[in-house]
């Protein structure tokens, strides 16, 4: 490959522009933009001809968004919600790994504790809301407990599935090569269960955002969910839409973080 110094600048620029057109302005990208344009166009048109009475059009949302975002509690809502998601998620990860790994390693322990977890698991996290409001002393702890509940079971189930999916021949091979318990854990169990663990984390982070939003709507006094609910109470449609989009963005960013961490931790999964 030629470098910048071997060829003249003009040719280099031309190649750069050509590769830009090849990579960015290809057909799929153009069609994607067209699809989005049609979506927003239809939305705007429906508003303009009066089909949507309540919902503002995209232009109104863009015009109104800065005032909503300029409110003092907008950034604070992000931070508060993120704090709740993060703390509940971290507690769930620690507990799920702490319970899931011994359960996956010992048949007896799994037989012993799995049925009761299966009894509790199908109860939706939000059904715990009223009893946790009563049980936990502060509303902050209530929301953390709910996010924890939402994240705990997907992570646990995926850890167990990951450990179960490890090929028994790997363990046998390691044992016949003279591996001790420590090597068996770090060289076989951890890399074998990690992909499944990260599947669980991806599911869990989405659920935590959902739970936090609902908990804030029902019992919170700050956070993104509460902001959306407040906009609903004051019939500020732009506020509701900005809230929804912010929540979507927050969820997207956190699942991106999880997948980036996953790729860092499991470099062998790269193609």
């Amino acid at each position: 490959m030629k470098t910048l110094y071997q060829t003249n600048l003009f040719q280099y620029l031309r190649e750069l522009i050509e590769s830009f057109f090849r990579n960015i302005l290809n057909r799929a990208m153009l069609e994607g933009c067209l699809g989005l344009l049609i979506f927003f166009g239809t939305w705007q048109l429906a508003r303009s001809i009066g089909l949507l009475i309540v919902l503002p059009g995209p232009i109104e949302v863009i015009e109104g968004a800065p005032t909503v975002m300029a409110q003092s509690d907008y950034i604070l809502s992000w931070i508060n919600s993120a704090k709740r998601v993060f703390s509940g998620f971290v507690i769930a990860v620690i507990l799920a790994i702490g319970i899931g790994v011994p359960m996956g390693m010992s048949r007896k322990l799994k037989d012993f504790s799995f049925p009761i977890l299966e009894v509790i698991r199908p109860i939706p996290p939000l059904a715990w809301l009223p009893i946790s409001i009563l049980f936990w002393p502060s509303s902050e702890m209530t929301m953390m407990f709910l996010t924890f509940l939402g994240a705990f079971f997907p992570i646990l189930i995926n850890i167990l599935a990951g450990i179960d999916s490890i090929d028994v021949r790997y363990i046998q091979a390691a044992l016949s090569l003279g591996a001790d318990k420590k090597a068996l854990f770090w060289k076989i169990l951890v890399p074998g269960a990690l992909p499944s663990l990260f599947t669980g984390l991806t599911i869990a982070i989405a659920i935590t955002w959902e739970v936090v939003i609902a908990a804030e709507m029902a019992s919170g006094d700050n956070g993104l969910g509460f902001m959306t609910w407040k906009s609903y109470m004051s019939h500020s449609m732009v506020g509701i839409l900005v809230g929804m989009l912010s929540i979507g963005m927050a969820g997207l960013i956190s699942s991106q973080i999880v997948s980036i961490v996953g790729r860092k931790v499991m470099p062998w999964l790269k193609k």
Binding site: L36, D111, P122, P124, L126, A127, E210, I213, M217
Partner: protein, 292 residues
């Protein structure tokens, strides 16, 4: 028993396998009188004993809000419950019926809209390029964040709750149907083209059966999250249903009712998932045969 079968039994025992049951009571004994079942049952028993202990004999601070399990179950099955909810009260069944009707309506809607959309996304490249960005734009918004918008935009109480419940399952169904089509081996398409299938026939004979396992994965997820979102929707915006029952019980401090509704929700949600799984296995018998 001749020598040969005795030898077989010995061999099975050495290999750590159990001899095959000859009749139904032996089958039951083999199936249920095992260490695994015993350990599971003792785990559940210990859980309830600890619960009972913490709510009757020694009550730590804040545990006074949790009803005693014995009291809970006697209330649940008593013909004249103190708080009005037990297996003999018609109100209880009305709440269950309302919640189930909502979930199944939303689930049917999510399936009816999500599966065709997902299949189309996988089938047609131009359609995928144009619609997928819109799906990806809306997908990260959690279903319950739609509650305020749904309440303001849709009429009545039923429609917002059903809409929110549907949103939960919709994207899971779309994505899994799409992945199902993408995961089909390209050879099948070429074989079908060689055999002179037209586009419609490729759709019905290759795409739909090929994507079915993924579709059912999607439907199972959809059923799970539908119950989840239903509770949220009913707590925030409902006037009936099990989620509302929980919230109403909370407002009237009827702790027993909260727990009854929670357990009911859990069991019905679990049974719904089992139903979908069995339906999927029934429809995809060829897959089970492949697995052997």
């Amino acid at each position: 028993m001749d020598k040969q079968s005795l030898y077989d039994t010995e061999l099975l025992k050495v290999a750590g396998w159990k001899p095959r049951a000859n009749n139904w009571y032996e089958w039951i004994i083999q199936k249920f009188f095992t260490w695994q079942v015993f350990r599971g049952l003792s785990g559940v028993a210990i859980f309830f004993l600890v619960w009972h202990f913490l709510t009757s004999l020694y009550i730590p601070p804040r545990f006074e809000f949790i009803p005693n399990p014995l009291y809970l179950f006697t209330q649940w099955i008593s013909p004249s419950p103190e708080n009005g909810i037990s297996i003999f009260s018609p109100v209880y069944y009305r709440h269950i019926f309302v919640s189930m009707a909502r979930v199944y309506a939303a689930f049917a809607l999510a399936t009816a809209l999500g599966v065709p959309l997902g299949l189309l996304l996988g089938w047609n490249k131009v359609f995928r390029n144009m619609v997928f960005p819109v799906v990806e734009l809306l997908r990260p918004i959690p279903p319950l964040a739609w509650v305020p918008l749904a309440v303001l935009m849709l009429y009545g109480i039923e429609m917002p709750v059903i809409f929110v419940t549907m949103m939960a399952g919709f994207f899971a169904t779309v994505l899994n149907s799409y992945l199902g089509v993408v995961s089909i081996d390209q050879t099948y398409f070429r074989a079908a083209a060689c055999l002179g299938f037209n586009r419609w026939k490729i759709f019905t004979k290759v795409i739909v059966p090929g994507a079915l396992p993924f579709i059912f994965t999607g439907l199972q997820i959809a059923m799970g999250v539908a119950w989840f979102s239903l509770v949220g929707g009913e707590i925030i915006a409902g006037k009936s249903g099990l989620g509302f029952l929980i919230f109403e019980a909370y407002q009237n401090i009827q702790l027993v009712n909260i727990f009854i509704a929670m357990i009911t929700l859990g069991s019905i949600g679990y049974l719904s998932s089992v139903l979908i799984r069995h339906l999927g296995n029934r429809l995809m018998i060829w897959q089970l045969k492949d697995r052997g």
